[in-house]
Amino acid sequence: MANEVTLLDFWPSPFGMRARIALSLKGIEYEYKEENLLEKSPLLLKMNPVHKKIPVLIHNGKSICESLIMVQYIDEVWNDKSPLLPKDPYARAVARFWADFVDKKVYVSGKRIRITKGEEQEAAKKEFIESLKLLENELGDMPYFGGEILGYLDVVLVPFYSWFYTYETYGKFKAECPKLVAWAKRCMENESVSKSLPEQERVYGFDLKLKKVYGIE
């Protein structure tokens, strides 16, 4: 049976990047469809009626939503190469814990750095840096969170590297985590990652425009 795979996405979305990386690591051919989030396509609204968000993976007509769920689905269906989640139940639980941490802490504090000022922004910066340090600790001396090769948590976290310049510029700080930067650069040596992440300056330019649209100074 032919595999028809479509990804509804938006180029600066770190969540979309996760799906792009996973699909590429697995060598899956797919159709990439860019969504205009100010004018969502009927296909997007039909395939994700509950949240109306990207990314959405459409596999042989069926939709899979939410990036973490999508990456796990891709890992389970295309299980012949590049395993992402470990087999051991405890190791899987640890990977899932940190993926959840990335969403709860890195993404949320990063967002607050972009859209707040003053004390709120300072608090967000502090939380952001603390979160990265905890992740650095988790990485330890391994080349990747997945061990010797890229795994689930690497795929989940590395998209936020494309937003570092944006966070640091708005927050007027430098996230002091050399180990994590080294890890991100190591990930970027993999073509599946480098072709899935936009350049940091391009993301910053986009975000400036976005803030004007929403009237955020």
């Binding site: 509950v50 596999h59 069926k62 899979i64 939503c65 939410e66 973490l68 769920i69 999508m70 796990q72 689905y73 389970e76 269906v77 139940p89 405890y90 899987r92 639980a93 899932r96 814990f97 959840d100 941490f101 905890l134």
Partner: protein, 220 residues
């Protein structure tokens, strides 16, 4: 072979801890539930096992700690595969995880907004909560359980939060049974299971607990 040591750090009213208890019971796994005093002092084991969030539940299996209730239930499923809580096919699992995620993102926080609000906000919160229930009713459809014919992953994650529904109803002045009869029927069906009933707190006691929380937050 040495026996498994399974400890669950628990709090009687926590719907998240109840998720783990139900999953372990469904799998027939013996475990020790240790009550934490979350309004008092957290135990050393809790602080050591969950240093980042310092919350219950924590599952400690042969000395290794697993945190976050949804991840704990997934761990229980991976470690003790039968009877299975998730469907066998990848798409079925992705769908179950989607609804689990929806329950996680919306149900408890949506309900909490009702009793945490004042004045006109209460009505807004109530309407939003009923909308959430209606979406879940849509997902349930004509099935007995979210898992289909068998009680599964999504049922386990959602049913503990229903012990708080009486409190939401009191503060929001509505009845789940009137607004979403299918959800009401599903709740009754789940409560027939020993694994659910044995740890399910009395809704009136949960309501009292919420009253205590409201006092602490200066809402009463």
């Amino acid at each position: 072979m040495s026996k498994d040591e399974v400890i669950l750090l628990d709090f009687w009213v926590s719907p998240f801890a109840l998720r783990a208890k139900i999953a372990l019971a469904e799998k027939g796994v013996e475990f020790e539930a240790r009550q934490e005093d979350l309004l008092g002092e957290k135990s050393e084991l809790l602080l050591k096992s969950n240093p980042i969030y310092k919350k219950v539940p924590v599952l400690v299996h042969n000395g290794k700690a697993v945190n976050e209730s949804t991840i704990i239930v997934s761990y229980i499923e991976d470690t003790w595969p039968t009877p299975s809580l998730l469907p066998p096919c990848a798409y079925g699992r992705a769908t179950a995880r989607f609804w689990a995620d929806y329950v996680d993102k919306k149900l408890f926080d949506g309900g909490s907004k009702i009793w945490r609000s004042k004045g006109e906000e209460v009505e807004v919160a109530k309407k939003e909560f009923i909308e959430i229930l209606k979406v879940l009713e849509g997902a349930l459809g004509e099935k007995e359980y979210f898992g289909g014919d068998s009680f599964g992953f999504v049922d386990i994650l959602a049913i503990p939060i229903t012990a708080w529904f009486y409190a939401y109803e009191q503060y929001g002045n509505f009845k789940v049974e009137d607004e979403c009869p299918k959800i009401s029927a599903w709740i009754k069906k789940c409560l027939e299971r020993e694994s659910v009933a044995s740890g399910y707190p009395e809704p009136t006691k949960v309501y009292e607990f919420v009253g205590l929380l409201r006092k602490m937050l200066g809402l009463e």
